[in-house]
Amino acid sequence: MIGIVNYGAGNIFSLTAALDRVGLLYGMINEAQDFQKYDHIIIPGVGHAGAAMQKLKESGLVEHIVALKKPVLGICVGMQLLTAYSEEGNADLLNLIPLNTLHFDKRMEEKVPHMGWNSISPNGNSALFHHIPDGSYVYFVHSYFIESDPVFSAAHCQYGIDFSAAIQRDNFFGVQFHPEKSGKVGEQLLLNFAKL
């Protein structure tokens, strides 16, 4: 069963609806002892990364998240929280994956936010992208991105520059796009995560 970290950063209705559609069971993690009820953990998040980190700290769950050995999936801002630092709010984050979250502005000429369906290139060996072919389209909405990295990027995307569509280190995974809004591809990714 999947536990969703319920720390108040954005609504989770779309996420739970997607889990319902693909038949995955879930519950909410509101306090530390809830972690033991679940074998997979999702960290959702929309909005401001610095503000989201602040809320996560206030929830008292940070030390329990960093100690997790179960598969953890961060979505959008939830993914950014796994990195070391964000330019959004000049915030230090969980530093579970040693990358930085940077603003698109000044680094490329395209419109910001990066909004819509873009194609991704998964690294061949990531189980998170099982049955998701190179060139699959997923739905993005974000103004900040995680730099591309030869070790920790699990999937790449191009938008003016090359950035991490997904990151991975040990049991920690993150996706910049919204699997809950990405049609069948997104639903496949959620199913893949549940099988890790």
Partner: protein, 250 residues
């Protein structure tokens, strides 16, 4: 590469679709949820629901509609109509809406854009603008194009962007309903002034009109209603035609 988006727009009133629909055999052509699901299966990239429910009491049906769509449809959607304050937007966000679209409420009180962007992030805030060409210029119109304002459309769109709009939905009232094509000249001029996505609306009549607006105005998305609802254009055919013209589609 980022794909150009195709967006069917559904008018809903008291939880039901308003205009007739006959592009496919639906059990209930008035059910926006079934229609939305069908569009998502056909390859629509996103959906816009325009709520024209008149009375405040009936807004509850709109909230239920948003929840049903979020439960059953796996692509993003925007809801517009009847959003006048932060609280209205928050209810829709919590019901599962990906974005809200604001039109006259933002014209009446532009600070609302800042407030919404600060509270929910600019990706949540679509500013819808109805424009009409009057005596040498394009001016913002309200109430479905009936009421002219003295606000220059270009200036308003730039202001909306600067206040925190995440996207602009621009409808040319001169082209809307004509099926003679989008207002590509004006769309191009606007697109060159802004750095947020622009959705073209008003005038779609055939596949070539979509090709033209993507090629000539380089808009990020194109929205239409009746050509989709009446089956005059099927989304898979449209996507194939765009792809054959070298336009990136999903």
């Amino acid at each position: 590469m980022l794909a150009k988006r195709i967006i069917p727009c559904l008018d809903v009133k008291d939880g039901r679709t308003v205009k007739g629909v006959n592009f496919v055999d639906l059990r209930d052509a008035g059910d926006p949820v079934e229609l939305a699901w069908e569009y998502s299966q056909q390859g629509a990239d996103e959906l816009v629901f325009l709520d024209i429910t008149a009375t405040h009491e009936k807004r509850k049906t709109t909230i239920e509609l948003v929840k049903s769509v979020a439960r059953q449809v796996n692509i993003p959607f925007t809801i517009g109509g009847g959003i006048n304050e932060l609280r209205d937007a928050e209810i829709l966000l919590n019901a599962g809406a990906d974005k809200i679209s604001i039109n006259s409420a933002a014209v009446r009180r532009p600070e609302l854009i800042n407030e919404l962007a600060n509270a929910f992030g600019r990706q949540f805030v679509v500013i819808a603008v109805d424009t009409r060409y009057v005596e040498g210029g394009n001016f913002v119109h309200l109430r479905g194009g009936r009421d002219k304002t003295d606000i220059d459309t270009s200036e308003w769109i730039v202001e909306a962007q600067d206040r925190g709009a995440g996207e602009i939905l621009l409808t040319s009232m001169d082209h809307d309903g004509t099926k003679n094509g989008f207002d590509n000249g004006f769309l191009k001029a606007i697109n060159e002034r802004i750095h947020i996505p622009l959705i073209a609306s008003g005038g779609a009549g055939n596949v070539q009109h979509f090709i033209d607006t993507f090629k000539q105005a380089n808009v990020d998305a194109a929205l239409a209603a009746s050509v989709f609802h009446y089956g005059e254009i099927l989304i898979p055919d449209l996507k194939e035609a765009l792809h054959n013209e070298g336009i990136v589609v999903r």
